[in-house]
């Protein structure tokens, strides 16, 4: 059995065990009034519980490895004279120092992290507004018109002015009916895609762990 075959075999065994455990475990009602169904349901939940704990710790360790990789990459870039990497490394070191010396103090988060995040989110407005104007320049067809019209109705409907009450009613109806239908279809599409991707991984068709 080659490397890919071994990984696919492990994937299949672990995947089937986890899915069965999650679906059947901790649900005695599934077994009706069979004596000992509580104990059976509890036992069936055990493999899934163990695997989820295991993977949670592996993911935590992976995050640490990923951050170490980021730091090593920027140390390498710094050695090649990239000055921005020095800013990143200094910021990282200072935050770690601050967190260790000021346990429970969130002022660094409030002073640096929150303002930068908020400002970046605010910049999104400029990008979105520019993108919206480009839609009509690049795609002046019925779909582009529909997109801009719906976006304008929703935006105008959010303005609390008496004169815009009819637009607000339109906006509310749009959000409750057509947007809800489209949103449901998108969510169902995502769920179907997740199921297909999950089953592909389970059957060893996922390239991520096949080397």
């Amino acid at each position: 059995m080659g490397s890919a075959g071994m990984a696919a075999f492990v994937a299949f065994v672990v995947g089937v065990t986890t899915i069965l455990s999650l679906l059947l475990g901790d649900n005695p009602a599934l077994f009706g009034g069979v004596p000992g169904s509580d104990e059976l349901a509890r036992r069936l939940a055990l493999p899934g519980d163990v695997l989820l704990r295991l993977v949670a710790i592996v993911i935590a360790v992976s995050i640490v490895i990923g951050i170490a990789n980021l730091l090593f990459a920027h140390i390498g870039r710094l050695a090649r004279g990239k000055i921005y990497s020095a800013i990143l490394l200094a910021s990282f070191a200072f935050t770690i120092y601050w967190t260790i010396t000021n346990k429970g103090d969130t002022s660094l988060l409030e002073a640096v992290q929150v303002p930068i995040e908020s400002a970046l989110a605010a910049l999104l407005f400029v990008s979105l507004a520019y993108g919206g104007s480009r839609v009509m320049q690049k795609r002046a067809d019925v779909w582009g018109l529909l997109f801009v019209a719906v976006a304008l109705i929703v935006l105008l409907g959010s303005i609390p002015l008496e004169g815009l009450a009819p637009v607000k009613a339109w906006s509310d109806w749009l959000m409750a009916i057509p947007v809800s239908a489209g949103g449901r279809a998108i969510l169902l599409g995502i769920a179907l895609g997740s199921v297909v991707a999950g089953v592909r991984a389970l059957l060893g068709q996922d390239r991520a762990y096949r080397g």
Partner: protein, 227 residues
């Protein structure tokens, strides 16, 4: 850090990020990129702290307490799970060693497949079945309200035709009955109307959110400038 110091640092960093709007000038680029690199370094540090304090440390404390257990197997099983997970983490570092690829790939397989299994079960029981159920179920009290019935019908038709729009098929060879039927194309067009409407509403909602954040930031800049 005092209130004034927090406000001053916030003010400077907000201006550094907003400098992006002034264009791609050398000095401006330095300000914006510096702010972004500070952000990435700090985010990495906070992520490290949170994953250690929120995940690894509690698990480590749990296994040291013989009175607690994650599963019904008891504390000794917890110790085995914890050290197996650490071993798996260490094995991930051996990815560059070609002769041990089968081992690292097997660890990847465990992590990916457990995640995929949780996603499958979550998608089936949390999204697929409940959404399909609410879409096709007609409440009993609708018979008296014709408008509500029409609305339910629009939601049903919209969801189904939009799902049909996601259906992809390869075009058959020319001359062999290529393409979709006229009815299929009609369903796709109706579905596209609902998808475009939903995406436009999401776009408008995102614009509103970012506009709210922008106004809060600009108001903060003016308030700080005034004091």
């Amino acid at each position: 850090m005092t209130e004034n110091a927090i406000a001053l640092v916030s003010f400077v960093l907000t201006l550094m990020v907003f400098s992006y709007m002034l264009g791609d000038l050398p000095l401006i680029r330095v300000l914006y990129r510096s702010a972004v690199y500070i952000f990435v370094g700090m985010t990495a540090a906070f992520t490290l702290v949170v994953s250690y304090e929120g995940l690894i440390l509690p698990y480590l404390q749990d296994i040291q307490n013989s009175g607690t257990s994650w599963t019904t197997l008891g504390n000794s099983a917890d110790v085995i799970i914890f050290f197996t997970a650490l071993l798996f983490g260490a094995l991930l570092l051996l990815k560059p060693v070609r002769s041990l690829t089968w081992l690292t790939n097997s660890v990847y397989a465990v992590v990916i497949v457990v995640g995929a299994s949780v996603a499958v079960v979550g998608a089936l029981s949390g999204t697929l079945f409940p959404l399909l159920h609410t879409t096709v179920t007609i409440p009993e009290d609708l018979s008296a309200d014709f408008g509500a019935l029409v609305d339910r019908l629009i939601i049903f038709v919209g969801t189904m035709t939009a799902l049909f729009y996601f259906h992809y098929q390869t075009r058959a060879k020319s001359g062999a009955g290529a393409g979709q039927s006229r009815l299929g194309r009609g369903f796709r067009h109706i579905g596209k109307v609902f998808i475009v409407t939903a995406l436009a509403a999401i776009y408008a909602s995102t614009i509103l959110t970012s506009l709210t954040i922008l106004s809060e930031r600009v108001s903060f800049l003016f308030q700080f400038g005034a004091t």
